[in-house]
Symmetry: C2
Subunit: 107 residues, 2 copies
Amino acid sequence: MKVSTFTLKDAVFETAPDQADEIYTANLVDERHDASVTIGYGRYGPNSELTETMLVDYIMVVIEGATGTVGVGGIVHMPKGRRVTIRAFDEGATTAYVTYPHWREAR
Amino acid sequence: MKVSTFTLKDAVFETAPDQADEIYTANLVDERHDASVTIGYGRYGPNSELTETMLVDYIMVVIEGATGTVGVGGIVHMPKGRRVTIRAFDEGATTAYVTYPHWREAR
């Protein structure tokens, strides 16, 4: 694998599975590549909310807006097996995420 | 492990090993915890430069300033085994990072 650099312009957002609200994922690196982790961008619409039991270790960095108690630069670590709720507010939120192992394969 | 939320206020920066320039790391989650990955914040002083052969998969999200070609929200994936150079400019840079496996144990 080579060194890869990504910006939001590289994101192709898809509807997140099993979510009623406007929540989107855009994998950049995942099981299709020879990588140990999945890397991507997430987007949370205004006042959206996601509740899920984590099937992988999930690390989220807020890069626009805010989720829960953290704004830009905040990190949330959601360990495998935990039930979590992610909430966005009026402005929504954009995140960068890393999962170990690959979240799509864990479903 | 429980869900953990971090902001820059939680960072305790230490000088990065083997670097001449003003480059700092602040692990938040690592081999001391029951985690699969290391999570932390990095800080790159004005015009600092780091060149290193990666001992782990290293994912960096820019949260302040810019490194190389990416500004806030940019992601750099540095796979294990690759030789990489990270450059900051006049304003320096702050990053959030995730490594798999733990970078301190890999040294």
